[in-house]
Symmetry: C2
Subunit: 308 residues, 2 copies
DNA sequence: TGCTTCCCATCTCGTTCCGAGATGGAGGCG
DNA sequence: CGCCTCCATCTCGGAACGAGATGGGAAGCA
């Protein structure tokens, strides 16, 4: 049994004749006749009784008529349902980002996701590059924002933004008041504080503390115990509040990279989340919260698979 | 959307790949690929995510998978339902017959219908030829058993049985004891009682009472008030009980005819009822309750429309 | 009764759709 | 780096489908 045959049968039954149904269905009467005949053969009996002026529906035809109308309605419902499901991404996106990025990206991401994709659930975790990549490979994350990741065949990278890096210290620190510093300036620092992640900044800097999260790092710096390297987005609130001061390191960059696992399907929800993150990034740049060293253009790792 | 496409999609989704599904569905992988693609185009989005070793079902695909399985089950249910509906006739059959025929045909008809066609409802009315034909034409009856009806283009006739006619009188009546009577014998009858119907018996017989129903007729005859003409089936109980006596009129016949309206569809239930009536008739002849003058062979009126 | 009209069944032909096989690209795996 | 698996695409032959013409049966009408 075919939906087309069902539609034809219902048309003939409703209009009481092959000819009338043929013109209404935009099909030849002969084709109708043949389809109904085939349907009757498959169902093992007459569905219509042919008379000199039209057709009458048999008892079994009445059953098929009623059920068939219902079935066609169901088909339409299902199509509509799948279509809206397709229009609206859904499912869960598990995202990982370092705490400094999470701090500024997660609030607008949550707001935009709720607004535009109400059927998407977010799981927003905090993880530095190594842990995030590991979780991506284990399938515990769908998407991560990392910094200078190891090249990996099972991960696809796409540069989100390249940020300027600042040396930060206590307010009114004399070392920072020039606004920008050279490599040698930094190498002569008495006490540097770096993130725990091993590969955040490409330049060798002597350190005496590594900290995982940016908040304690900033507290340590604010207390005057040392200097730290951070992009502007991680410290803009403290700078504006006067709790920290900073000097640009023009020769240094922090590259924020989106990472997704390769060889595993990427859900539409994840794709939309990527789009949202790019949008948020642009907004943050526009608002001056992110200061870019260079606009993202070429991907760092292997190119992401093309969007369909 | 087509049921075939749906079946293919479910096959691919369940087996996790085009190739596996292709061999299971006995179809080429290329055809599967094309159908799924078409379905995805119609539903406005991807249903499957293609990976290097198979497919993954997207969110919308999951919806379609669930609904589609349900829909295919429904289709099978509907097919089965229509098929049994086709195997078992159903609906209402409205039958009319004169009371004498009703008396002996209706009980076995009701029993056989209940046994074999439990979904058929019977409406068993009593009507003589004229009224029955009128009701057939008005669409108030589906089928009637009549006697010597007027030819009518809107009615189709089929002879059921031709019965012998008997002259009946009180028990041990002297006129009847010879067992058979000639035309002149009947014409000299003192008091004849005939059915109300105008054309039951083709021979002119003087009468003084016409009665519609056979039961009062037989009571009148039993009381010795006159003689009546009836086929044996109408009086066999009274003959066996000794309440009446009868003499065969070999020159006279009563033809029982099945009548159905022409130009209106005849339901399967009506067809089956006709078959049952013929079967009952044979049984009654075999049991000696109906005495035939001649087996039914050629139809009286225009031939019934052929069975499909 | 004969004619007309209406309606459906059947036949035939051209188009479309569908399925099969071959080929190629992408990714996984040793 | 080569091999294997899996899917997409191309092309071709066959089946299904739709359109038009034809014919038969029944109803309506004169």
């Amino acid at each position: 049994m075919d939906l087309r045959q069902l539609r034809y049968f219902i048309g003939v039954a409703e209009r009481g004749g092959f000819g009338a149904a043929a013109s209404a269905l935009n099909i030849a009467q002969s084709a109708l006749s043949r389809h109904i005949k085939e349907l009757e053969h498959e169902l093992g009996g007459a569905l219509l009784t042919r008379t000199a002026r039209g057709v009458a529906v048999t008892e079994s035809g009445k059953v098929l008529l009623e059920r068939g109308r219902w079935l066609l309605g169901l088909v339409d419902d299902i199509k509509a349902e799948v279509r809206t499901e397709n229009r609206e991404p859904s499912g869960t996106v598990r995202l990982g980002a370092p705490s400094s990025v999470a701090e500024i990206f997660y609030p607008p991401l949550a707001r935009l996701t709720a607004e535009r994709f109400p059927r998407v659930q977010l799981e927003l975790g905090e993880a530095l590059t190594e842990l995030a990549c590991d979780r991506l490979l284990r399938g515990q994350l769908d998407l991560a924002i990392v910094t200078a990741p190891q090249p990996n065949d099972h991960l696809a990278y796409e540069t989100l933004v390249i940020e300027q890096v600042f040396l930060i210290g206590p307010p009114q620190d004399p070392l920072l008041k020039r606004g920008r510093m050279t490599v040698n300036d930094v190498k002569r620092l008495p006490r540097a504080i770096l993130p725990l992640s091993r590969t955040p900044f490409p330049t060798e800097v002597p350190f005496f503390v590594r900290v995982e999260s940016s908040t304690p790092m900033k507290r340590i710096v604010a207390s005057g115990l040392g200097y730290a390297l951070l992009p502007y987005s991680g410290i803009y609130q403290e700078i504006e509040a006067g709790r920290l001061s900073a000097a640009l390191l023009p020769w240094m960059r922090a590259e924020r990279v989106l990472a997704v696992p390769r060889g595993r399907p990427i859900s539409r929800a994840t794709h939309e989340t990527v789009a949202l993150l790019k949008e948020i990034c642009s907004e943050l740049i526009h608002d001056g919260i992110i200061r870019t060293a260079q606009r993202a253009s070429a991907p760092t790792g292997r190119p992401d698979r093309p969007r369909r």
